[in-house]
Symmetry: C2
Subunit: 215 residues, 2 copies
């Protein structure tokens, strides 16, 4: 498979997969790129172009076969298997992440949690045992973990990311309020609701009717 695929395309695929799963659940078997685009605020041309990186789906004027395209996207994205996750930092935010019920049904299992607070070490949250961060390297050497979640304070977030990368982790979900860096070959995604709100207050300051330009 050619891998000259823009990151923005990869980032849209899970959104397509989610919409197709909802259509499949509703018993729909065919969907047009127009209908899918309207549901997702994406142009039909964008959908067709994004999917064209991965082969030919659907026929002109016939739409996409929902189960077929969904299965293909799940295979491309690796959603057809389970992924093993560890989390570093189980303060208030980290605890909420561990207790959040939304990961497991999507194939992401939180296997273990790490913290530097000795009062937390040895206790459990939602059946996930909390270990000391000093054990992270030896744990990662012995245990297959695919994705690391970082929910430590900002001042120690980069070193936490570095430790995960050192332990062989190639995908990191970062909740800490910093732009953390990873070497080539490692993916990172940032989850930051404060930044999201701050990008909306720009528009709130301006008269109603002022809208963003989408490039």
């Amino acid at each position: 498979m050619t891998l000259e695929i823009p990151e923005v395309v990869i980032n849209r695929l899970p959104v397509y997969a989610r919409a197709l799963a909802q259509l499949a659940e509703a018993g729909e078997t065919v969907v047009s790129s127009q209908a899918l685009g309207e549901a997702l605020d994406v142009t039909p041309a964008q959908i067709r172009k994004d999917l064209s990186y991965f082969g030919r789906f659907g026929k002109q004027g016939r739409g996409y076969n929902v189960p077929t395209l969904l299965a293909k996207l799940r295979e491309i994205l690796g959603l057809d298997r389970r992924w093993r996750v560890c989390i570093v930092g189980v303060g208030r935010l980290g605890q909420a992440i561990v207790e959040y019920g939304g990961f497991e049904p999507q194939g992401f299992t939180i296997m273990s949690a790490f913290d530097s607070d000795s009062e937390l070490v040895g206790t459990s949250i939602a059946d996930v045992e909390i270990r000391h961060v000093d054990e992270l390297q030896s744990y990662l050497a012995e245990t297959r973990i695919d994705i690391g979640i970082v929910s430590v304070p900002g001042r120690v977030a980069q070193e936490t990311v570095d430790e995960l990368v050192k332990g062989g982790i190639r995908a990191i979900l970062n909740y800490a309020p910093i732009t953390a860096h990873v070497p080539p070959g490692v993916s990172i995604r940032h989850i930051d609701p404060v930044l999201a709100m701050q990008s909306m207050t720009f528009y709130l300051k301006r008269p109603a009717g002022v809208v963003a330009i989408r490039e």
Copy 2:
């Protein structure tokens, strides 16, 4: 002010502001676009272009004055004032959001919470009183709220967004796992850690060294 500013530019400004705030806290007074770019994984040219929408900052070869640029960005983004937030849906996720300590220090105050569960109505989370969703319209008619957070189940997320928009809300932070739609003049941002993880498993399935193309 001209408003032909791409949404992606607006979305980057809070990241710049956060980095400048950290530099200011560290006592730095000048930063080059090179140094800022390296810290944020953005090219210096991108930073200069983004800022050029809002005027002239810094001089060639002299770098940016950190406090001046930070103050200007805070003013552009509206971070120099407080914003009033309500949340609809205080199940497990919503409760974690209300209890999360990261909004208040950044100027976002959760004023009120709404749910349809009569057992929750009348109770409080972190001093925020929970009201019945049936009261949402009358509440919004009487109370200034700037931003609505949606953390209801996916099947009722679009109608919740519609209710907030009907009540005059122009900025929505959506945690529900759907692509919710808003009319022109209303901003929406989606927070979805599952989608973020799903976009990384694409790379995990492939050999180490395969990297994304950034357009």
